[in-house]
Amino acid sequence: MSEPVTPTAEAPQRDDQPSTSPGNGGSAGAVSGADSTGSRIAKTVMLLIIFVWCLFPFVWLISTSLKQGNEALGDPNMFQGPFGIDNYRIVFGEGFLYNLRNTLVVATFTTIICVLIGAFAGYALARLPLKRKALWLSGVLAASLFPPVALIPALYEVWRALGLLNTYPGLYIPYVSFTLPLTIFILVTFFSSIPPELAEAAKVDGATPFQTFFRVVLPLAAPGVFAAAIIVFIFATNEFLIASTFAPRDLSVQTATTAVAFFTGATEFERPIGTITAACVVISVPLIIMTLIFQRRIVAGLTAGGVKG
């Protein structure tokens, strides 16, 4: 699929809120009505492609999770019944609610902590005087690159000694460490796209460096903060390796992805695809709702801030 460069000269509509710069809307410039329609159709088609791309496998997931019985699950036809909510009943029958709660708690803590200290570090790396920044950036990156599976044995021993196994901090501390690099990099990018003049102006107005950061710069980097937050949250809900090793069976800490590894079929060799897809739908739906909410915030934060060129 090649990059769709839209042929129209129509100015892009920014969002629900009116943009602060003039000259928007309608088809500015020399375009005929036919071009508009053509481009509209093209755009609609593109949007449909995006919808299908993203949604289709999810629809497959839902349909598979509603299938019951060997035959339905073995049949490629999405509409082959019988259908029912047995799989969901099975999933919740084994305490999946606890797993959901645990995932929520761990992911929330991870996101808040990671975004917080990541924003601090990102700002320091982007705007504050610090020696050898390239080294810091490389170090931050390097810390996340080692294959996690090789780190687990050593970390397990440390965690056991510290009594962190089967606890919430035992999970969210490693999660924070694994998501910090991406968070820091995203926020460094955003912080550096904010013109230094703003910070200068704040200094002139008498703000301390910290106030400059907290009141002036941080709000403008809101889109980056929320993008990073979403990424971290999703990483924490989807993570399996650490969760299954450090909190394998204790229901008061076991996360949803770990629980899925315990699903079995009715017989010994069966792949429990029905219950697995049901669990997946249950995990995903709240996440999707949540992202729907947060998406608006990203844009709202942006247009209000109004970065001037």
């Binding site: 990059e3 460069v5 000269a9 990156l141 050593a154 301390t208 999707i288």
Partner: protein, 308 residues
């Protein structure tokens, strides 16, 4: 003025200016401290431990003595290692290329969408939201000859086409599954970047008579460069470390055994802590090398206030 220091427990600078709160230099150190501490404890220590382990010889799980570079020599002379390097690079190049092309396309479309914007943005995250272990199983189910979903949906493919059991097509299936999941993620990163580009610049370019493609090249791309590089950086290092998809979909068969699958083999399935750690370290070096290349490309544009 009251100084708000909401940072968690960190090193305290001995003298803080009474009037202006912390200076920029002090603030920088305080800000960086929590991240550094976390990563040192969780990452640095186990990494060093793993590298340390790689210098010892093992028989199964029992340590049999100091091996020096013996494990590394064994790794370098094992054709399986080189096969996995090739598989990893093939996968990475293919996957990152396609996810960028497609992701950029999505981002451009979403940037200019005129209806249902919120819905689209939520939709775009659905692939990303599904846990990897599950999406791997999902794609396995779809591509596998039994039940043969993909075969039944694509009209020009025979019902018994064995995607996962044929050389090269197995890799295609894995790349496809990965691009499906990550193109939207790239689109999100690029979209956030696109939206920081002020309208006025496009206006000015249009007034100057630039065509859409020229506007893209002269306005969009340069201002998007940091976002592109960050996205490229993380997608590349992630692709180099891919594990779930090949492990679940093919088990590493038909040239799809990537470095992470190989590492997993020797750490978990047939544990040899020495050799497994050696493979891990080699993987780390490869991935780090690539990462550093990107960081050096990124570095200049990004940071202000650098001191010599």
């Amino acid at each position: 003025m009251a100084v708000e220091t909401e940072t968690p427990v960190t090193e305290r600078q001995p003298e803080e200016s009474q009037h202006k709160g912390m200076s920029e230099r002090q603030l920088a150190r305080v800000f960086v401290a929590p991240s550094v501490i976390t990563m040192v404890v969780v990452a640095a220590f186990p990494i060093i431990f793993a590298i340390f382990l790689s210098l010892y010889a093992y028989q199964g799980r029992q340590q049999t003595g100091f091996a020096g570079l013996g494990n590394y020599i064994e790794a370098f002379t094992d054709p399986r290692f080189w096969d996995s390097v090739i598989a990893t690079f093939v996968f990475t190049v293919a996957s990152v290329t396609f996810e960028f092309l497609i992701g950029m396309g999505f981002a451009l479309i979403m940037n200019r969408a005129f209806f249902g914007r919120g819905v689209i943005r939520a939709t775009i995250l659905i692939p990303w939201v599904i846990p990897t272990v599950i999406s791997a199983q999902m794609w396995f189910n779809m591509f596998n000859i039994t039940p043969g979903f993909v075969n039944s949906v694509l009209p020009f493919v025979p019902a018994d086409f064995n995607w996962l059991g044929t050389e090269n097509w197995a890799m295609f299936a894995i790349v496809f599954a990965d691009v499906w999941k990550t193109a939207p993620f790239v689109a999100l990163l690029l979209l956030a970047g696109l939206q920081t580009i002020p309208e006025d610049l496009y206006e000015a370019a249009r007034v100057d008579g630039a065509s859409a493609i020229q506007r893209f090249r002269s306005v969009t791309l340069p201002l998007l460069k940091p976002a592109i590089l960050v996205a490229l950086l993380f997608r590349t290092v992630d692709a180099l470390r891919i594990y779930d998809l090949p492990a679940v979909m093919t088990g590493g068969a038909f040239g799809t055994e990537t470095l992470s699958v190989l590492v997993q083999q020797f750490i978990v399935q047939t544990p040899d802590p020495g050799l497994g750690s050696a493979f891990s370290t080699l993987t780390f070096i490869v991935v780090l090398g690539v990462g550093i290349v990107f960081v050096s490309l990124l570095g200049r544009d990004l940071v202000i206030g650098e001191e010599e």
